[in-house]
């Protein structure tokens, strides 16, 4: 699917088929979750990142069906590049109303970056000033988990992680997504 077509699809689904919820509710809820995790794990930010990723993974497993139903996509993406476009222009568009930029492809077409010009989760946020959060915490790490979970349900094993975040003082917020392999449908064991 051409990227402009994907954009139109995302726009249309966002406008007509998505239930909307107050943005501040989402932002504050997510913020509370992260802050509470930081407290519960005694500011072990590495562990917090892991937990966020796990939560996201569980969300992704469920969200993918909603995505497929709402976007009416009946066919597979022909390659990983198309998958990336659909994630950015349809997936992120319909659930968060943002369209991250897909860029920095590796030559083998298995690794790309999503650049987030805006990140609704990070509105108002200022990372704790304890000298470690700025280096260790990936505030929006839940998104990595969501992608991992959702793509796993459609036979793609990917690895996703943030490489920069404006909250840390970087210029951009960038997530790196790597395709590890296509999971072959395993046939049920034959009973003979």
């Amino acid at each position: 699917m051409a990227s402009s077509k994907a954009s139109r699809l995302g726009e249309e689904v966002w406008k007509t088929r998505m239930d909307k919820v107050n943005a501040e509710l989402v932002v504050l809820t997510y913020g509370t979750i992260v802050a509470q995790l930081c407290k519960d794990f005694d500011s072990d930010y590495i562990e917090v990142n892991k937990q966020l990723d796990k939560m996201g993974y569980n969300i992704g497993l469920r969200l993918i069906d909603d995505y497929l139903a709402k976007s009416n996509t009946m066919r597979r993406c022909s390659n990983f590049r198309e998958t990336a476009e659909m994630i950015a222009r349809v997936g992120f568009k319909i659930f968060l109303n943002i369209t991250p930029t897909v860029t920095n492809w590796t030559s083998d077409g298995k690794q790309f970056s999503l650049i987030f010009d805006e990140n609704p989760f990070a509105d108002f946020v200022e990372l704790p000033d304890d000298g470690r959060a700025q280096d260790e915490l990936w505030y929006s790490n839940i998104l990595c988990g969501v992608l991992r979970g959702a793509l796993e349900m459609v036979q793609m094993q990917v690895e996703a992680h943030f490489v920069s975040d404006v909250l840390r003082g970087n210029d951009t917020t960038e997530m790196r997504v790597t395709l590890i392999r296509y999971i072959d449908d395993e046939l049920p064991p034959e009973d003979d």
């Binding site: 932002v27 913020g31 509370t32 992260v34 802050a35 108002f124 946020v125 200022e126 000033d129």
Partner: protein, 200 residues
């Protein structure tokens, strides 16, 4: 000839338990040395801020008695001397914002100011000159308070900010605001304001 116009000398944020949350001090123009330096020491500013608390309480009681609403812009709280004046604002949650204005805090080029007053073409700058002569108009501080409140709201929205640490329910102690973003915003407001400004 150089003339002076009012500028902000100090911005204070006070919690609902009368605990200091934040103080920003801004240098004023000193004609003796032709340089910028604060007109008071930090301790003296802290005392000025403390001295406004009674007036806040008094106004709140008066407003409650008169039934004109609880909070909002309280206007001029007190004039400390012929230079400094304190203005106050109280939110519905009891957080107070205090602006200490130095009536002669900033130097403007006299010739330019006079020219602007003469033509009267530039509405803002003619008001500015009038402000220097007559003091500040009613509601002059509103944009400052609005901007401070916006910054404070933004601070409260930060999930890592713990309101209870800063204004404990027990009413004792309480940390100061350490957010860099907030301090930066206060600095921007304090330095950016000029008499007649409508938004910050």
């Amino acid at each position: 000839m150089a003339t002076t116009i009012p500028s902000i000398a100090c911005l204070g944020v006070i919690g609902r338990n009368n605990n200091p949350l934040h103080t920003s001090i801004f240098p004023s123009y000193d004609p003796a040395t032709n340089s910028l330096r604060p007109v008071r020491t930090p301790l003296q500013f802290s005392l000025i801020l403390s001295s406004t608390l009674d007036i806040f309480d008094l106004r709140a009681r008066q407003n409650a008695a008169a039934g004109v609403g609880l909070t909002g812009d309280l206007g001029l709280l007190h004039a400390v001397d012929d230079r400094l004046a304190a203005y106050g604002f109280e939110t519905n949650t009891g957080t107070r914002f205090v602006v200490v204005v130095d009536m002669r805090g900033r130097r403007v080029d006299g010739a330019a100011a006079a020219a602007a007053a003469q033509t009267g073409a530039a509405e803002g700058s003619s008001k500015r000159v009038a402000g220097a002569a007559t003091g500040l108009r009613e509601g002059e501080m509103r944009p400052v308070f609005k901007a401070m409140q916006a910054a404070y709201i933004q601070l409260m929205q930060n999930p890592f900010f713990e309101p209870d640490e800063h204004s404990p329910p027990a009413g004792q102690g309480g940390k100061r605001i350490t957010s860099k973003k907030f301090a930066e915003e206060m600095r921007r407001i304090g330095e950016g304001w000029t008499p007649g400004a409508v938004s910050l």
